[in-house]
């Protein structure tokens, strides 16, 4: 599948996932209607089916009311149902997943379901059996302390929604994908294979699940996802596009994949906003250039970080880098990372004194050279127009 295809696919995914209302139907109502239809023959039309299903749903609702309140907290069961459904939807259908445990927790301690509204994390275990082999899928969703991108060996970085980073690695006999959606909120999905067998899901599949916007939990009272949103100047999308095209050699010929867009970072992942944005993101390619180059830009709002050597160094992760002070009290740094099996990314970062930062990166197959050198990237990233003002 080409990048164009992926772009179209992403757009279709976003189209069908945005503003999605909750499902009205339940399996119990559908089964009841299926039984009725089985008994009653096959003459009913589509509208009759729908009306009957709705009637069953209404009846079920009335029955629930008559039967007294559900002893389980609605929020807790709703969260559990949402996580379970989101995981099943996000992972390829490869043997039936059977839910084993899905429980709330806080501060490293499991919580009773009745206290789920104060949970800061949920932890789930599913099993699937194919050819007699039991495979375990684990999910951890919630608020965590900031941590290194990779928590194991054989770490690879992949690109998630709007340029966010997804780390995949091996740890404790499992293959994991971790999507850190904010500094304090993350989702990780793991596949544990029986010894001597392969993993059922690949890195890309686990990463897709970890980045699923539906795979999230509500924030408990008094705890919220940290935001550093700020209002960008009018026409910021055009300003960013012009700065990149004007700064990079031959930049006028860049082809846009994702036009500059303001994003709000929350527990579902980044989502487009026209209001104050935590960061802006855009990406382009170079038509005709070998190696499928992808140029990505991320501009973080003021207050996102501190203008310090250690903060600049932390961006490099495991890569070697040497932050340098810039003329106006900020810091600059460039570094290279492996992304995926056969791709590499070079990133130039400018950290400004107000805690905003610009990350301009080029990603390309490892078999070809980077289209730009580090100095060209850094000079473009330092363009003063790429600022919230």
């Amino acid at each position: 599948m080409t990048r164009d295809d992926e772009h179209l696919r992403d757009a279709l995914f976003e189209y069908v996932r945005a503003d999605e209302p909750p499902m009205r139907a339940t399996s119990a109502a559908l089964i009841a209607e299926g039984r009725r239809r089985r008994r009653g023959g096959r003459a009913a039309a589509l509208t009759g089916t729908v009306a009957a299903v709705l009637a069953v749903l209404a009846g079920a609702a009335v029955w629930t009311v008559w039967s007294g309140p559900d002893r389980r907290p609605a929020a807790a069961t709703a969260t559990a149902r949402r996580i379970d459904a989101a995981l099943r939807d996000a992972l390829p259908s490869r043997g039936r997943l059977v839910l084993r445990t899905l429980e709330p927790g806080a501060d490293g301690t499991p919580l009773p379901t009745a206290a789920a509204s104060s949970a800061t994390a949920w932890h789930g275990v599913w099993e699937s059996t194919v050819d007699g082999r039991v495979q375990v899928v684990r999910v951890d969703v919630g608020f965590t302390a900031p941590a290194a991108a990779c928590g194991g060996t054989d770490c690879q970085l992949a690109t998630g929604p709007y340029g966010t980073s997804v780390a995949t690695f091996r740890s404790d006999g499992g293959l994991w994908a971790v999507h850190r959606r904010t500094d304090t909120f993350g989702v990780r999905v793991g596949d544990e294979a029986p010894s001597g067998t392969g993993f059922r899901f690949g890195r890309a599949e686990l990463a897709r699940a970890a980045t699923s916007a539906a795979l999230t939990i509500p924030a408990p009272a008094g705890l919220r996802v940290t935001h550093h949103a700020a209002t960008a100047p009018a026409g910021f999308a055009r300003i960013l596009d012009d700065a990149v095209r004007g700064g990079l050699p031959g930049g006028a010929g860049l082809r846009t994949y994702q036009p500059p867009v303001g994003l709000s970072a929350d527990a579902t992942g980044p989502r487009p906003t026209t209001g104050p944005a935590d960061f802006w993101y855009a990406d382009w390619t170079i038509p005709g250039q070998p190696g499928g180059p992808r140029i990505t830009l991320r501009v973080d709002a003021p207050g996102t970080t501190t203008a310090s050597r250690s903060a600049a160094r932390a961006l490099c992760g495991d890569a070697s880098c040497s932050p340098a002070p810039s003329a106006h009290g900020g810091w600059t740094v460039t570094y290279e990372q492996r992304t995926g099996e056969a791709a590499v990314r070079r990133t130039a970062v400018v950290v400004r004194p107000d805690g905003s930062r610009v990350l301009l990166a080029e990603e390309v197959q490892a078999t070809v050279d980077f289209p730009y050198d580090g100095a060209e990237l850094l000079a473009t990233a330092a363009d003063p127009t790429m600022s919230y003002g």
Binding site: V16, M23, I31, G34
Partner: protein, 182 residues
Amino acid sequence: MTAWDSVAGATGRAGDGEVGPAVDVEREFAEYFAARGQSLRRTAYALCGDWHLAEDLVQSTFVRLYRNWRRIRQPTIDAYARRTLLNLFLSGRRTAAREQVVPEVPERVVAEAGSDVRIDLARALARLSPRQRAMVVLRYLEDLPVAEVAELVGVAEGTVKSQTARGVAALRAVLDTAALAR
């Protein structure tokens, strides 16, 4: 050890939870609905562009699926569900075409700022013929190979390729236009 690890270690033991002793038809059906219901509804929405109709299509699909559950072999459930959904959509479109009195698909209210691309995409999808739209959705949203799309829609593989290419070109034009308009 991270906060995740400590909690997962305490709560995430496989086999601690409820395990049903018997796997019967209803449980299998319920599990399949939990696993695929939402995804099928998204496909239905991509086909018809209306959440209410999408829900109706999916409910009808699952009712038919339940009635035939015992006869469907496990590996073909997805294909059966897709085919049922597609048939309901296309037959419904034929019915709707006979009853249609408005010249265009009504525009939906823009409920959320920043959704221009989605609105444009919805309009571009609505301009495709139902079969062409189905081919694009199955090929790109469901990620099905050309041969499977051809079998589901009941046309030759070459037709899928040509129709999909035209449909995709129309959608890409919308996306490219939207790209620099922001």
